[in-house]
Symmetry: C2
Amino acid sequence: MKIKQEIYITVDAVLFGYSRESGISVLLIKRKIEPFIHKWALPGGFVKDNESLEDAVMRELNEEAGVKINYLEQLYTFGKPDRDPRARVVSVVYFGLVKPDSYKPSASTDAEDAAWFNMDHLPKLAFDHKTIIQTALERLRGKITYEPIGFDLLPAKFPFSDLEKLYITVLGRDLDRRNFKKKVMGLGIVEELDEKAPITSAGRPGNLYKFNRDKYQKLKKDGFSFEMNA
Amino acid sequence: MKIKQEIYITVDAVLFGYSRESGISVLLIKRKIEPFIHKWALPGGFVKDNESLEDAVMRELNEEAGVKINYLEQLYTFGKPDRDPRARVVSVVYFGLVKPDSYKPSASTDAEDAAWFNMDHLPKLAFDHKTIIQTALERLRGKITYEPIGFDLLPAKFPFSDLEKLYITVLGRDLDRRNFKKKVMGLGIVEELDEKAPITSAGRPGNLYKFNRDKYQKLKKDGFSFEMNA
DNA sequence: ATATATTTGTGTAACTATAACGCAAATTAA
DNA sequence: TTAATTTGCGTTATAGTTACACAAATATAT
């Protein structure tokens, strides 16, 4: 092609996980090449000439971490001229959610190490990755109220209070337990199971619940819109 | 740099305009180079090595059209390997709104022609630009309900029914005129002016109204959230 | 000139959703 | 055995939404 352009394109991913005990976590990898060698960074890498952007993120995530992704969407493209000291690099960043089941990052080939970090205790990060994580967190906050993506952070079966705690953590404000439950159950997409939740603390044992994704899809087609402000 | 990568990066812009008479329009330019020479396409072009993505869109818009942009945000990055017949091209697309005042595309240097097209009568478009416009329209629809971006499609002073018609057009459904007005005025960010609207049709003449952006910003800082479902 | 159609402005009543609570039941911890 | 904790279910007051009715001021048709 005629045009002279010296810009590289990468993909990165912000993967969020959640647990009742430690709240929201982010998956990071320890870089084993320069720049920022041995520093923590988001998983990602250069896009190959013939693969789509989505394929590129999925490949990198497999190579570097090996976790099962439950939800993935494009977040934002970061392109400030000086964000990479080596050269001009534009990064298309994806936003993903991982269930606790498939939480463990497996030993990987490309990264020195991969680990989940609590959002409140992030290490120093390479490049502009701190800003990127901030943007991703805002997306999570914004989106959880009008799309049922919270369930992509929980196991298939969960005690109701886990869902409630997830919303409290993500939204960063208190909710009325009773109103929250009424609202959620009223939507008709969460079902109570005939199964007791494993005991984790004092108090009356509760049931397990599950998200009925099929029902949500059906309702959505008929113009139903999820909303959780309670 | 070590990495071999043959991917080009461009920026494109979907600029929307609005008028009571013709509804929503999109700004298109007629290409004067291959591929798709003489075909209509979104304004845009290659990013220079040292300019930010935003600077690149603004530059291209000036070169090709010369309209004043009232609102601009990043929309999405399109990167399918075969979207450009020449080579692998990843395009970062921006979404913008233009007021009717600064509506006229001025004669430009880079494009053969630039013109506004009604959303319902778009010509055949180059590349995947039809899909891109569709995505942008969805963004407009989604965003107009929870951020006051509708005012970026109207002149500073407008008859109230223009705002109402804008929402009806964008949302694609009917609204109750009276409830809509109550809702909007109740938010406290639209002011009635002491000025009659110019007469455009039969019926009782109405006043002009204006959006108070300062007040909105102030309220927003205090946790106020715009919402228009009426 | 007069009647008709059109558009703006204001209001009210019924219904629905949200917010703020209380209390009993079933369990663990003291 | 008692206290603390957690779940489940319910009620009431308030706020918000929806569905209407009607008068006023103008252009248009007759």
